[in-house]
């Protein structure tokens, strides 16, 4: 089984990655990292491993892999849900941050769409 982490170079993204790493280690799952911001250059595996630090080392000892998930879909939320389905993921971990009601009205929310459309449990981490 796998855990899918929605990562980005923001506070919520880092929180989600750290939490997903601990979760994967706890349940003995492989970790698949998806970039939540397709317009920026996605982080490489090395950067992700660096960011996970101690967790990554312990995962390696336990024989668990960290990999990047790729999707041809341009919309981040669709991409996350697709990758989770393809890996038959046990859990999706994503970060939330405060959004004003007006901000949500105008811009919509990737997190909200993942929560609504995912076909597996979703763990939302507050940053």
């Amino acid at each position: 089984m796998t855990v899918v982490a929605v990562h980005s170079a923001t506070e919520p993204g880092r929180a989600a990655l750290a939490h997903a790493g601990r979760e994967a280690l706890r349940t003995g799952d492989h970790l698949v990292v998806v970039d939540g911001d397709p317009r920026r250059r996605a982080a490489g595996v090395e950067e992700i491993v660096d960011e996970l630090g101690e967790t990554a080392r312990r995962m390696e000892e336990a024989g668990l892999t960290v990999s990047l998930g790729h999707s041809p879909l341009t919309d981040a939320s669709d991409a996350v849900v697709q990758i989770a389905q393809q890996h038959d993921a046990r859990l999706i971990v994503l970060g939330l941050r405060h959004r004003s009601p007006v901000g949500k009205l105008i811009l919509g929310s990737t997190a909200q769409r993942i929560l609504l459309e995912a076909t597996c449990p979703v763990l939302a981490v507050k940053a």
Binding site: A76, R97, L107
Partner: protein, 660 residues
């Protein structure tokens, strides 16, 4: 309404109209296969052929081509993994994946049937739009029509892909170019420098073929051969047809999205197909197979890209605002026939409108049918590298631009605009607002003059529809501001459905766009624009007050926008990426291509068209495209024979040189 619709259908029984429609469909299918031409290329190349025809025949030909361009552009996307047009790149995601699994026929039959249905539903949408919009259109007077022209240019500028400032600047440049020639209000000459040739204004075909056609050739000739192999046609047609029926709801949703994208000016087939794909993914429960051969990823976008062209015609015919580049050219053509879109078309020329609708629907069906029949043969055409097609296309395009006024000056203008079009494309400036501005410049000025002389003061601004249009005009500006504030706060990480990002695609743009973004090239675009608008402002001080009004307004706004862009470019100077080898190579190839075009045209002026072609084409094929000797000989002979036979078949003039 039904009477006109039926009588329009009856008139299609005329063999001459039906023949034109079929020729148009055949031409459209072929042009859809050639990468980079698309609807813009199809209409621009066929437009000169229609000079001297009755409006009905001309429209049968052009609509026939326009309706099916997006049916055949799927072939190379599915079989080669290289889309024939930008809008087919969506189909490539799932279509190519399916073809590699040996199910090419399944993917193609899904695509052809969806294209057909998209065309029919688009035509239906156009039909329904007439009774809905008719009372509205009839209530419009010159103030509303003036506002609509302003709205057309500015929406195209704002909704086009990329930087809004660049879009507005391009729209203004187009408006300025459209004002070259005789002023519609005072009959004095503007921006002509005393030249008689410029007195008539620039030819629409030369501008469109230059900005889009030649620029496309210059970008793509570097591509010598297609690297990928054709996927064999596997699978059966029947399975695809049966499967297509089960996805009927995707077809309808895709088509409706396409119509909507078509109605908005500047949002073309590319954005429409991406929206349809996004919709198909978002509403699917099981997203696993998208990008790996999901039929829903083919059906929705393929329905959308055909209905976009029908949707484009709604604002074009009813309000006189072109929704996209091909319809901008159709609008220009309507105006040359003396048919004013809008009020007069729904009262006096309703027959023509229904004829257009019937042509669209029939062409969609015939096009899909021909695609089923012809795919095994047509597929081979997609393997021909662009470098080999290039010289032939160049010869045809230059010949086309010559047909309007039979002036060699048009061809020089075309090459000059080709260079400008290429620079705009490479620096990621949208070219659709440029052409829409060019077409709308004269109507805008005429309506403004009427508004100003029939109304006292600014009272016309209080007319209800004028207020509505003003609101629509201001809305996008606020949206742009919101976007700007948002990027300021760096909230881009959470952009919801991504629809806004996907909207930022204009029609018929390829991946090579924006290669020279944030480089000295884009800085020089800003500098050039400021110089042009400054020069125009200075020149317009010599005009009479009526004739100077709009040029001065456009130049002042253009100057301001140009300075804003200049500021942006200077600020981005620190992030300039060093030109890599790929960029340098592209630039040299493009510049060399334009130099060759200039050389060819100079040769034409000396020895005449036919002789110049017989020298230029083999030389180009052998030394630039590095084609085989046998190909070169056959190619040249066929092209030469065609040029020799053409004047006796259709009324075409070949440019003559000093030596005959």
């Amino acid at each position: 309404m039904f009477d006109s619709a039926l009588s329009a259908l009856g008139s299609l029984a005329q063999p001459s109209l039906l023949l034109m429609l079929l020729i148009g469909v055949a031409a459209g299918l072929v042009m859809g296969l050639i990468p980079g031409l698309g609807g813009t290329g199809a209409v621009a190349i066929l437009l000169p052929v229609t000079f001297g025809m009755e409006p009905e025949q001309a429209f049968a030909l052009l609509i026939g081509a326009l309706a099916v361009v997006h049916t055949s552009d799927t072939v190379s996307a599915v079989l080669l993994g290289a889309p024939g047009s930008a809008s087919a790149s969506v189909t490539m995601l799932d279509g190519y994946a399916m073809a590699r699994k040996g199910q090419a026929k399944r993917a193609l039959s899904l695509a052809f049937l969806s294209s057909m249905a998209g065309g029919i539903i688009g035509a239906l949408g156009l039909t329904l739009a007439i009774p809905l919009a008719r009372p509205l259109v009839l209530s419009f007077a010159s103030p509303e029509l003036f506002m609509l022209t302003v709205l057309g240019v500015s929406l195209a500028a704002v909704l086009s892909r990329g930087n809004v400032v660049k879009g507005v600047l391009c729209g203004l440049l187009g408006l300025l170019l459209g004002m070259v020639g005789t002023s519609p209000t005072t009959a004095e000459e503007r921006f002509t420098g005393g030249s008689l040739f410029l007195g008539d204004g620039l030819s629409l075909v030369a501008v469109a073929l230059g900005i889009f056609g030649l620029a496309e050739i210059a970008t793509r000739v570097g591509q010598r051969r297609t690297s990928r192999d054709l996927v064999t046609l596997g699978g059966g047609w029947g399975a695809g047809i049966r499967e297509w029926l089960t996805h009927w709801s995707q077809v309808i949703r895709g088509s409706l999205i396409g119509i909507w994208a078509g109605v908005l000016p500047g949002v073309g087939a590319t954005a429409g197909t991406w929206l349809a794909y996004g919709q198909a993914v978002a509403t699917a429960k099981d997203k696993r197979k998208f990008g790996k051969g999901d039929p829903r990823g083919i059906v929705g976008p393929e329905s959308a890209n055909n209905s976009v062209e029908a949707g484009d015609l709604i604002p074009t015919l009813l309000f006189g605002i072109p929704g996209g580049v091909p319809s901008a050219m159709l609008l220009g053509m309507l105006l040359t026939y003396g048919i004013q879109p809008g009020p007069s078309i729904v009262t006096e020329h309703l027959n023509l409108m229904y004829l257009i609708i019937w042509c669209f629907a029939i062409a969609s069906v015939v096009g899909a049918f021909l695609c089923f029949l012809g795919t095994p043969t047509l597929a081979k055409l997609t393997k021909v590298p662009f470098a080999v097609l290039g010289p032939g296309l160049l010869v045809i395009m230059l010949l086309g631009a010559f047909q309007g006024e039979a002036q060699i000056g048009d061809l020089w203008v075309m090459i000059l605009l080709g260079v400008i079009g290429w620079v705009l494309k490479a620096t990621d400036s949208p070219r659709a607002p440029f052409l829409i501005g060019f077409v709308l410049a004269i109507p805008m000025e005429r309506y403004y003059y009427l508004t100003d002389s029939l109304n006292d003061g600014l009272g016309w601004m209080a007319r209800p529809w004028v207020i509505v249009f003003l609101a629509v005009l201001v809305g996008p500006a606020i949206w742009a501001l919101v976007k700007w504030v948002r990027t300021r706060r760096d909230l881009a990480a959470d952009d919801g459905h991504g629809a806004a990002a996907q909207l930022m695609h204009s029609d018929d743009e390829a991946e090579t766009d924006g290669l020279l973004k944030n480089s000295p090239w884009s800085l020089s675009v800003a500098v050039g624009a400021v110089v042009v608008f400054g020069g125009a402002l200075w020149a317009s001080s010599g005009f009479s007050p009526e004739a100077a009004l709009l040029p001065r307004l456009v130049s002042v706004v253009g100057l301001v926008v140009g300075l804003v862009l200049l500021g942006q470019e200077l600020r981005h100077r620190r992030t300039w990426t060093r030109q890599g080898r790929a960029e340098t190579l592209t630039v040299t190839t493009a510049l060399r291509t334009f130099a060759i075009m200039v050389g060819f045209l100079a040769l034409v002026m000396v020895v005449g068209y036919l002789a110049a072609v017989l020298v230029f084409v083999p030389a180009y094929l052998l030394f630039i495209a590095r084609a085989r000797a046998k190909t070169t000989v056959i190619y040249t002979l066929v092209l030469g024979a065609a040029l020799l036979a053409l004047p006796s078949l259709i009324p075409v003039d070949l440019p003559t040189g000093l030596l005959g």
